[in-house]
Amino acid sequence: MISIRDLHKYFGSLHVLKGINLDVEKGEVLSVIGASGSGKSTLLYCINGLEPIQGGSVTVDGTDVHAKGTDINKLRTKLGMVFQQWNSFPHLTAQQNVELALKIVKKLPRDQAREIAFRQLRHVGLGDKLDVYPSALSGGQQQRLAIARALAMEPTYMLFDEATSALDPELVGEVLDTMRLLAEEGMTMICVTHEMGFARDVSDRVAYFHKGVMEEIGPPSQIFGNALSEHTRKFLANVR
């Protein structure tokens, strides 16, 4: 379980997250929606410790992410992350991209890493691209490669930071399909997204962020059908 308690985050004097309280249970799919600059991506970075926090706490399976003694590198293997810019390692083939962390972080032997890489790449539909360099892959394929790379570490949770925002429209579908597949398999997911269709159809709960505050959280039927907050309704009216 991921527990966020009274989380405060500042960039300099800018108060980006203003006291967030949130629990995400295992197996749950949570979509986080909201305007740009509402703090939703920052929330993900605070969950896996890529951004330090200034107040409150984030706990993952009982471990305080931001505590001094925490082995953050070990904890991060539990928290797979997929970024807006897919960030595939350009000097490595698809297979080597997936193998790298298995070899140096998990210290798996070569053939075991190879086998996991193959399995995960096939999982996201890239089984025929093992020896291809990222430069020869489309944006959608690179994003699926990034998903495979994160999945290979066998994370308990997957964090998606606007995974489809940088893609050409015709490539969004293949990535969303992969994310749907993961959700169906029972992966715990926090998806920061602008894809309202995905948020409505796939998530168990949807959270709406407004100016650093979690304005509203509830099942998709509530958020999209009968939102309690005026801000939520306004936002959804504008994006649709």
Binding site: R76, M81, N87, H91, Y133, A150
Partner: protein, 220 residues
Amino acid sequence: METTQSFFSGFTPYDLLFLGEAALRTLWISVLSISIGTVLGAIFGWILYEGRWIATLTIAPVLDIFRSVPLIIQLVLFYNFAPIVGLNLDPFASGLVILTIYTAALVANVARGGIEAVGLPMRRAARSLGMSYWQDLRHVVLPIGGRAVFPSWVGVALGVMKDSALVSVLGYVELLKASQILITRTQEPFLILTVAGAFYFALSYPLSRYASHLENRWAQ
């Protein structure tokens, strides 16, 4: 006529051997200073990138001096002032020290550029997979940033190789000094400088060929 013949004698095959030997000395001092200087420069570049104000106060100005003052002045100053502080270095060692620092100063900026070229998002992706700071630096930043600035580094290396000719002012008999000696004896500057130039070319060309071969392979 007979007296002049005893002073000057023509270019002999043996002189080619002499030049070849000198070319090896050029190669030796270049390879050493470029290798050590590159390692030091990479470390300095990392400090420049990470250290921010600490680096600005310490190594950055020193590196600026070594990059800005003409190499020949650095060599003469160091060779003549080192004994005052108790360092008795021969021309080779003095040349090596200065060429190494000079290389390091140039490589430091190249290396910092390489780290910057990788970018924060890429490094966060690496860290998000559980890599430590050093694993990210070794397995992500080094190969990606290294490739990005490799052509600049080759430029530095070739430059230092040619600049090593300046060590001749200290009396180290490398390619240029050897040429001067032969010119004095044979009075055939065109021939000898052409041969020396050919030697320099023979030293540089393999490196630039190998570099473009690597770049082609990486471009895939």
